[in-house]
């Protein structure tokens, strides 16, 4: 039962001239057994370090790490019962595909007959049977990726760590592999901890996404929840393509005033009594108003923004229209055939609007203040 639990994991690096650099601060999360969890974040956010700590390739400075209920903080990597797929696949260039796949089993002195059986099974599942005698250099990118996967599979480990395993593939192959990986995980009931900076990978494959930022966790949620209710401005701006439109606003009674506009005459004021209703009284002055491009429609709505249409872009089935709101540009996504003439207003339903505290970046909700998990 390889449930993975991280409690208050921290890590600092010794930088140049003895300056210590805090890489991770108090990381807490749990990956239940059989779940696919993605660590998502921009490069340098600490997601790879977290993964390597789980793998045992690096040691945490503090906190507790449990795999299947056993504390493994001081257990060497090889004894943690996990497999790992590396970003560059870590294939041994001088060994054949079969030897690469069986490398770990030989190290673990698994009997030959069983080795061969497992190899045949993995090769069948990954469609590598024809390539077993080749060297990695003779394989395509996708095949190499599958060899790396094969090595993880034959190990029999139920916990598999993956460090950006698809980042070296082209777009088409990546999409195929996403499906394939997810299917495999489901079929074998693997617990997967998956590092990526690609939100699409995280959103399409994971049961649970752990969004990381600067050595900490921003939000842990299922992909739908992450999209529908981002816990902070940072998450909101990171998830979605194009990302959520975010407007800096100031509260003025029941009005929201768009910041950054010059002069009183141009000041954009938005009537927002309906939106603010139900929010606590101690609501901060300075807010961020967020609306996803697909939640805005040309014309008036429950919330109405004065807007000037500036250009549009056809994206196949969708059309992306840019409007100017005050001094800011706002993206709107509509169906391609929904080619309405541009008015001078944009509307959104109240439930599609997100409000954040500008100082803390935390999401503000009608019923309660949702602070970003820290």
């Amino acid at each position: 039962m390889p449930e993975v639990v991280l409690e208050q994991i921290s890590k600092t690096y010794q930088g140049a001239r003895g300056v210590r650099h805090q890489a991770l601060t108090g990381i807490d999360f749990t990956v239940p057994s059989g779940e696919f969890a993605a660590l998502l974040g921009p490069s340098g956010c600490g997601k790879s370090t977290t993964l390597r700590i789980v793998a045992g390739l690096e040691r945490a400075d503090g906190g507790d790490l449990r795999i299947g209920g056993r504390s493994v903080t001081r257990v060497p990597a090889a004894e943690r019962g996990l497999a790992m797929v590396f970003q560059n696949y870590a294939l041994f260039p001088h060994l054949s595909v079969a030897e690469n796949i069986l490398f770990g089993l030989r190290s673990r002195r698994v009997p030959r007959a069983e080795r061969n059986a497992r190899l045949a099974e993995a090769a069948r599942q990954l469609r590598l049977t024809e390539q077993l005698d080749r060297r990695p250099a003779q394989l395509s990118g996708g095949q190499r990726q599958r060899v790396a996967l094969g090595r993880a599979l034959v190990s029999g480990a139920e916990l598999v760590l993956m460090d950006e395993p698809l980042s070296n593939l082209d777009a088409r192959l990546r999409a195929d592999m996403r499906t394939e990986l997810r299917e495999l995980q489901q079929r074998l009931g693997l617990t997967v901890l998956y590092v990526t900076h690609d939100q699409v990978e995280a959103m399409t494959m994971a049961d649970r996404v752990i969004v990381m930022r600067e050595g900490g966790i921003d939000q842990i949620a299922a992909p739908e929840e992450l999209y529908a209710r981002p816990a902070s401005v940072r998450v909101a701006s990171f998830i979605g393509s194009p990302p959520m439109n975010l407007l800096d606003v100031r509260r003025d009674g029941t009005w929201l005033v768009l910041d950054g506009a010059e002069g009183d005459g141009d000041r954009v004021r938005i009537e927002a009594a309906g939106l603010l209703k139900g929010l606590p009284d101690e609501l901060p002055e300075e807010l961020v108003l967020g609306v996803r491009p697909e939640d805005l429609v040309p014309g008036p709505g429950e919330l109405t923004l004065p807007a000037v249409r500036i250009r549009d872009e056809l994206l196949g089935a969708d059309r992306l229209i840019a409007f100017r709101v005050g001094t800011r540009t706002v993206q709107v996504r509509v169906r391609a055939d929904e080619h309405r003439p541009g008015g001078d207003r944009l509307g959104a339903r109240h439930t599609a609007c997100h409000l954040f505290d500008r100082r803390t970046g935390a999401r503000l909700d009608a019923r309660r203040l949702v602070g970003a998990t820290g």
């Binding site: 045992g56 390739l57 690096e58 040691r59 060497p76 990597a77």
Partner: protein, 259 residues
């Protein structure tokens, strides 16, 4: 990376330090003996032979030979790496075979050649047989082969001449290799003994290595402090240079792609 420290790690660390000790102890010993009576032994050794002159000779030889080798080698490597021409294969094979026929094996005939030029007991006489280095040509060709075609093509589109491309594209791109080769060459020439022993007779041409042996020639038996002092005089400058520049030194090796 600080991984989980296991006992094999500790064994390896101990081994590393043991090796470090084994490799440095003899040198430390020599330095300690050289300074056991202050600097008296050093100054008497320094005065016993014209080490200053020997150093100058070595410095001239080392820089002259290395510079000449690089010029000759860069040109030849460029030809082999960049151009197609008849007999390229056989000519390169010829260079490769010469890797193993170093001037020392042909010392008798090289001696005659140098004598024929009237260059016995001169610095050019010591240096000339080393100017064409097969190793240099081979090594730089490898480095030049690694220069991406786009760089060359970009320069060609800019209208840079062929020599210009060599200078502006190949040489900068292969700089780590050139530096690495230069370091190997400097160290080889600094070490050179047999050929200068034959050719360089007078103090005006003797390099440090030959000078050291001449300095030690008196068969009075072994005077350790004096010997240690002489050795320190000969080795200290290069050791100092190395210690100052060791990071660059090792790094240029690492980057040169000696594999």
């Amino acid at each position: 990376m600080d991984r989980i420290v296991s006992w094999p790690d500790r064994v390896e660390t101990a081994l590393a330090w043991l090796a470090g000790l084994l490799w440095t102890a003899p040198l430390l010993y020599v330095f300690v003996r050289a300074f056991e009576s202050g600097t008296a032994d050093l100054s008497s050794a320094w005065q016993a032979a014209p080490f200053g002159r020997y150093y100058l000779n070595t410095a001239l030889l080392v820089t002259g030979i290395t510079a000449a080798q690089l010029v000759v080698g860069v040109l030849a490597a460029y030809a082999f790496a960049r151009f197609e021409f008849p007999l390229r294969g056989p000519l390169f094979a010829f260079v490769l075979v010469q890797l193993m026929i170093f001037p020392e094996v042909l010392m008798s005939e090289n001696y005659r050649t140098i004598a024929g030029f009237g260059l016995l007991d001169t610095l050019p006489g010591v240096g000339l047989p080393y100017v064409a280095s097969a190793f240099c040509v081979f090594f730089l060709r490898q480095a030049f082969l690694g220069v991406p075609d786009e760089l060359v093509e970009a320069a060609q589109i800019e209208g840079v001449s062929r020599l210009g491309i060599l200078w502006k594209v190949f040489v900068p791109a292969a700089r780590p290799s050139i530096v690495a080769y230069a370091l190997v060459s400097v160290s080889t020439q600094w070490n050179n003994f047999l050929w200068p022993l034959i050719v360089a007779v007078s103090d005006e041409t003797r390099p440090v290595t030959v000078g050291l042996v001449r300095f030690l020639a008196p068969e009075t038996g072994i005077d350790v402090p004096r010997m240690a002092a002489g050795t320190v005089i000969v080795t200290a400058p290069l050791l100092a240079l190395f210690l100052i520049g060791q990071r660059q030194f090792i790094n240029s090796f690492l980057r040169s792609g000696i594999k």
